[in-house]
Amino acid sequence: MSSAADRRPATPMARQILEHHSLLSRARALPGEARFVLAVLTLGALVAGAGIGFLVVTGQLDGRWYDLRDLGNATAHFRGWTQRQGIHSAVPYLVTGLLGGIAILSLVGGWLVIGVWAERRLIAKFQIRQGPNRVGPFGLLQPLADAVKLLQKEVLIPIGADKLLFFLPPILIFIPAMLGWGPVPWAPKMSYADLNVGVVYTIAISSLGVLAVFLAGWSSNNHYALLGAMRTVAMMVSYEIPISISLLAIVLFTGSLQLSDIVAWQAQHNVWMIVLLPFGAFTFLFASTAEINRTPNDIGEAESEIVAGFHTEYSGMKAGLFLAVELGNALLVGAMMSTFFFGGYSLFGLERWIPGYLIMGAKTFLVYFGFVWLRATLPRFRLDQLMAFAWKFLIPLSIIQLLFVAVESMVVVQSGLPGIVTIGGSIIANAALTFVGVRAWANAIGYSPKEMASPPIMTNGVGGLRAAEQIRAAS
């Protein structure tokens, strides 16, 4: 893969940067006592892990308050304890509510920090760079340094801006980004608000961000911002439809709008929705990238065209909030994606031993990694291409898929046949739709990428217009 020349830094400065934070060199630099302590700590951690693992496997933890595979246990025990103590029932509600709120905020905040770092490091790796590696070990403190930097920067307000509305959007856009985490099921009984209308709630919350984006673009009194806002609004409105339809297909299968039910259905049937509904998963992923303004659909803040789109005029922590929300939304979509399509906290029975939230977190980060990958690789669509893709391709095919699923779900629920037959049949039918139908539809609307790519003609001659015509005629 990489030759020796690849690894050899070109200049002494590069060499210095590379070697500055090498883990090996740091370990070598440690004194003997520190190395001993480190070894003991590692050993202790291994032993403790093995002990906990034993307790979990033998089922001795089940239902205890310290059974941390599911924080719902702890809450239930706390509620029971307060009841026995005769404390008013409002207190545990308030306490658990507050704790949950703080948990979501800190979780999202922590993830943002990790997400910023991970995105920068990953993209650096994709781009054969080093990435941030100066602040803290492996550059881990870089996001904090960035946040501090943003906080102390001056917040500029353009003279022509609408002061009130210029102030609102960073806050307005932050609220739905936080609210969206409400119904995410982290483990069987572990979600902040397991709404019975969770799917609709998710869509509703995601549609609120549009308004903040529009206000940001409009109030900045800047053409770039306005263009970005209009693009984003048009795109979000278009892409909410395929998202809704693809989620509707899931709802038809599971028969519930509750996110925990959707996960439970996937766990119960041992099938992930991405296998059952590959086209739905693609639609959701693609439309989500449009909703959250990420490559290849980041036309709302297309850097090479409209500078930074709707948040061109924002500076300091306001811009920081926009960036944080963008990243938080990517993580939220990762969580939604893993809930809807990757079986949520379930992992084919392994959730018995591994805490659900760890599985969920791993899946979320995998999807997030996918977003980073896309961002590092793909160019950007044009607005009209994106709109055409939504209206001519995703929406019709989603509706066709919905018709398929309507029939399949009837069969699954009412035929009484074993699941392997009905669900297996559905998988085959949907896969056929995805791989045959998509191609047929693409042909029908006249899309043929292979014909578009054509290498240049190689010639040895020299000439002008006449030679050009000859070459074109000959090829």
């Binding site: 869509i203 609120l208 206000l215």
Partner: protein, 174 residues
């Protein structure tokens, strides 16, 4: 089981909604008016929540705060030569009169209608009420005809919009 918190929330949300609506009337700036309208919509969604109509609340956010507001955004953006500020209204008095009339009618209906309230044991049994299924049953059962009529009406509105746009587009291309 009306806890004081719910009652407090109800009044606060009502105040927000009413204030939002009033500001829509007062605001001289179209976009400001839009923001207050969205605030009123959100307050209304909150009211639905306090009344245990969670599906309705979510639908309110999805349709009104999400889609209708965006539609208005488009309307504002695409209005040619729309200045930032509203002009002085010529119809202040008629508008006030008709608005008060509407408010009177709505209040009258709300007061007179014999609401099918759940009380006592019935309320206790239906906790939490599953509104989604109930709404679905009602829409596709008892009220199927109005529902379908509304769908057809919306469908024709959609067709009409397409026809209008299409005609213009084809004329341009000729």
């Amino acid at each position: 089981m009306e806890s004081p918190g719910i009652i407090l929330a109800f009044w606060v949300l009502s105040a927000i909604t009413v204030a939002g609506c009033a500001m829509v009337l007062v605001a001289r700036n179209l976009v400001h008016a839009l923001v207050f309208l969205v605030l009123a919509f959100l307050g209304m969604a909150g009211l639905f929540l306090t009344l245990s109509a969670d599906f309705l609340a979510v639908a309110q956010i999805l349709i009104y705060a999400g889609s209708i507001a965006v539609l208005m955004v488009f309307a504002i953006m695409l209005t040619p030569l729309a200045a930032r500020d509203n002009a002085n209204s010529l119809y202040l008095l008629p508008a006030l009169a008709s608005g008060l009339g509407m408010a009177a009618i709505v209040s009258f209906v709300a007061l007179v209608t014999p609401w099918a309230e759940l009380k006592g044991d019935a309320l206790a049994q239906n906790d939490p009420p599953t509104t989604v299924a109930a709404i679905g049953d009602l829409l596709l059962g008892r009220y199927v005809l109005p529902f379908e009529v509304a769908s057809v009406l919306l469908f024709f509105a959609l067709l009409g919009a397409i026809v209008l746009v299409h005609e213009r587009g084809s004329r341009e291309s000729q």
